[in-house]
């Protein structure tokens, strides 16, 4: 590779990119016939005019997506100098009269800014308070985004609302599987009885699978996970999630069961491949090296299995543990 030529190519790409329209040009185009503001033609950092125009674009509910994105970018890039712009964005987010897609774009921008919000500690409580207002929004997408952010912040208010929905004490904010998933960001022991009840009497198959996933954090649910994994009549997704959960909660019991699955002619191939993969990477190598029955079975599967994944798993196993 000719590095000077490589540098010239990149310079040409940068020159081309520099010619692409920015916020001012997009704004001028959208206001065709109207007077573009004075700075429209000059490049450079955002001016007060740019910021005023960008906020107006959002408050007007601008439907032109590129212009809207450019406006959000202008505001985002100026937040370091003017943290109060966060308030302007929050205002648009909370204005239910604005289009949901605009408010969603604003929320995404606020969340992107939140990675830098440590620089503006005074803004963070207001941001989280705004999100709590949005969790009852009629727009499901916006609602879910806000709930997700709060759940990852371990927000007790949203956790209580999610539990209330799962318990049937109030209308559910989101489908049960999403509620369970959100609770998983801050799993508490008091959730486990509820999760076990959901496994027994699930509102949906997806909710049941998510509940099983979270029960891995509960040592006393190891028996339940083993029962689910061992039951060949059980749903395949539930068995696989049980396997992963059992491996986390009780590795020795999982390895014993994984060995059975590998040796069993009537087992599901995907579960078998998964079990071999788990043993390959995480089981005690010395114990495996003494297990001639297992090694023989894996060699046989490498030669005979109709499943490509099983064969692939056996090859990894034998490369690491074979004689």
């Amino acid at each position: 590779m000719d590095i000077p030529e490589y540098r010239r190519q990149l310079s040409a790409e940068l020159e081309q990119a520099a010619g692409q329209p920015g916020f001012r040009e997009l704004l001028a185009r959208s206001r065709r016939g109207a007077e573009p503001h004075a700075a429209a033609a000059s490049p450079g950092p955002a001016t007060e005019d740019d910021l005023t125009a960008a906020i107006a674009v959002l408050r007007d509910g601008e439907p032109d997506e590129p212009l809207r994105s450019a406006a959000l970018q202008v505001i985002s890039s100026a937040v370091d100098e003017q943290p109060d712009l966060i308030d302007a964005l929050t205002g648009v987010l909370l204005d239910a009269a604005r289009p949901a897609d605009l408010r969603t774009a604003v929320l995404d921008t606020l969340q992107q800014i939140s990675f830098r919000m440590v620089a503006f500690p005074g803004k963070r409580p207001d941001y989280l308070a705004a999100l709590r207002s949005v969790i009852d929004d009629p727009d499901a997408g916006l609602r879910q985004r806000a709930i997700g952010i709060l759940a990852r912040e371990k927000d007790e208010y949203v956790q209580r609302r999610l539990i209330d929905g799962l318990e049937g004490r109030s209308a559910a904010l989101v489908p049960a599987e999403k509620a369970i998933q959100y609770l998983g960001y801050d799993i508490h022991a008091e959730y486990f009885p509820l999760l076990r009840r959901i496994v027994e009497n699930p509102p949906s198959p997806a909710a049941r699978t998510e509940a099983v996933r979270l029960l891995a954090a509960d040592p006393s649910s190891a028996d339940l996970l083993l029962t689910l994994l061992s039951n060949k009549q059980e749903n395949g997704d539930v068995r696989r999630v049980s396997a992963i959960g059992l491996q986390s909660a009780a590795p020795a019991r999982f390895e014993e069961q994984a060995r059975r699955i590998v040796l069993d002619d009537d087992e599901d191939d995907q579960l078998r491949a998964m079990s071999i993969t788990a043993l390959t990477h995480f089981a005690n190598p010395e114990a495996l090296s003494r297990d001639d029955e297992l090694t023989g079975r894996i060699e046989q599967l490498r030669a005979d299995s109709a499943s490509q994944q099983v064969r692939q798993a056996t090859m990894s196993y034998l490369a690491k543990h074979g004689t």
Binding site: M1, I3, Y6, R7, L10, S11, E13, L14, Q16, A17, A18, Q20, Q73, S76, S77, V79, D108, Q111, Q112, I113, S114, F115, R116, V118, A119, F120, R145, G148, I149, R152, E153, P175, E177, K178, Q181, G184, Y185, I187, A206, E210, R213, L214, A216, A217, V241, I244, G245, Q247, S248, P251, L271, A273, M274, T277, A278, H281, F282, Q309, A313, S316
Partner: protein
């Protein structure tokens, strides 16, 4: 008679890794029984058609040589030179490059030293074997939630966030965070180099069950039955939640292009302006998904975090190369000179001479109350940036101006060049 080669001033085979930046090498004769005169030897790639390729340097020039002749004394005294990988001819497996030392007069092969041109690559271009080695090392390091990955997860939290975000230290801090994990993975498998997710291009092979997973309809990732990431556990809970907000098979994330990012610093390439990339594309790449990766306190639960940040770091590295921003004393390269407490300084951790948490293990305010993970993982290739590095030690990562500051990594599309003569 035979020859021996020592890489990176370290006789151990563990030091036989190079990138694009030339590294010090010593060649010497061993077992010279009967020889009386110096021996002229030729060094070259053993296989110029396959595997990683290296070139040889005897001075600080940008033009390496495919072969080089040296005169080696029979006393065993070493000859010094430098070796670098040939740009865009990286290895794909450990030891797939080799330096052959041949007696220039007799053509007798005096020694063959295998090595690796170890380069951080675009994840979308990894071979299946490279991908699987990376996933295995990652899963081994996490060890179903019992391993040291938990320390990394516990660093990137709300409490640690002021050390890493929202100011000038954002890029150096994350460069060190990546380097720390990469070195830990290399301790498991030295062939690993951190791959990057080029988020401004579609990466369909990355978002598959065989690699970083595919979300089910409510966003929990699913993996193929042979992928060890299916056993990923953080905070005691298995699984990774990552709903997508773009079509990972046909689209890129909703981020600035590489060219637009490189222009953020303006015509005069100022770091203070360039660091706007913390918003777009960095923040926007995070929020191209829902789930763990889209919030600071949970982002590291998802190992895609490190591939995303490898790309952010690559963009910085490419900007540094293109605009020659390696001089730590220049405010164009890094504006926050000095240290916290100096007049006009940034908050602690974001100035050139500040040490970085958690590697400094300081837990007194305003630093966070705990410092998970200890000091930076060491490397057999270099002592830089030190176990408790200062911000400034992360800047000249290739040792362009100061070779000892070389950190031991390179990107597949960011070359090494000595500075242009002024």
């Amino acid at each position: 008679m035979r020859s021996e080669i020592t890489f990176n001033s370290n006789a151990s085979p563990a030091a036989r890794y190079v990138g694009w930046a030339p590294v010090p090498v010593q060649v010497q004769l061993a077992d010279t029984t009967g020889a009386t005169d110096p021996v002229t030897v030729r060094l070259r790639n053993q296989n110029a058609a396959q595997g990683g390729q290296v070139e040889f340097f005897t001075s600080a020039t940008n033009t390496g040589q495919a072969e080089i002749e040296l005169s080696l004394p029979v006393t065993g005294e070493p000859a010094d030179l430098r070796i670098a990988g040939v740009f865009q001819r990286p290895s794909s497996a450990d030891g797939d490059a080799a330096v052959e030392v041949v007696d220039a007069n007799t053509s007798e092969v005096l020694g063959v030293t295998p090595l690796m041109v170890r380069i951080r690559k675009n994840a979308a271009t990894l071979s299946d074997a490279e991908r699987d080695r990376f996933l295995t090392a990652l899963a081994t390091f996490n060890d179903r939630g019992r391993g040291r990955y938990g320390d990394f997860r516990n660093v990137h939290t709300e409490a640690g966030s002021p050390e890493a975000h929202g100011s000038t230290g954002f890029l150096p801090w994350h460069r060190n965070f990546l380097l720390d994990l990469e070195r830990e993975l290399q301790a498991i498998d030295p062939s690993i180099a951190m791959p990057y997710w080029r988020f401004d291009q579609p990466a369909p092979s990355l978002f598959t069950g065989d690699f970083m997973g595919v979300p089910n309809p409510h966003g929990t990732l699913q993996f193929s039955a042979v992928n060890p990431l299916q056993f990923w556990v953080t905070d005691g809970t298995p699984g990774i939640v990552r709903p997508v907000r773009f079509n990972t098979q046909t689209q890129h994330a909703n981020v600035f292009s590489e060219a637009s990012t490189l222009l953020l610093g303006g015509q005069d390439a100022q770091y203070e302006a360039f660091r706007q990339l913390e918003g777009n594309p960095h923040g926007t790449a995070h929020t191209s998904f829902g789930g763990s990766i889209s919030s600071i306190p949970t982002a590291v639960k998802d190992p895609l975090f490190f591939l995303l940040h490898a790309n952010v770091d690559r963009l910085w590295a490419k900007w540094q190369w293109h605009f020659q921003r390696f001089d730590v004393e220049s405010t164009d390269t890094f504006p926050a000179q000095g240290k916290a407490g100096d007049p006009g300084a940034n908050r602690v951790g974001h100035n050139l001479d500040d040490t970085m948490w958690p590697w400094n293990q300081v837990t007194t305010p305003p630093r966070p109350p705990t410092a998970p993970g200890g000091t930076l993982a060491p490397s057999p290739l270099t002592s830089a940036p030190g176990l408790s590095p200062e911000v400034g030690a992360l800047i000249d990562y290739q040792g362009v101006l100061t070779p000892p500051t070389r950190l031991g990594f390179d990107y597949d599309d960011v070359p090494f060049e000595f500075p242009a003569a002024s």
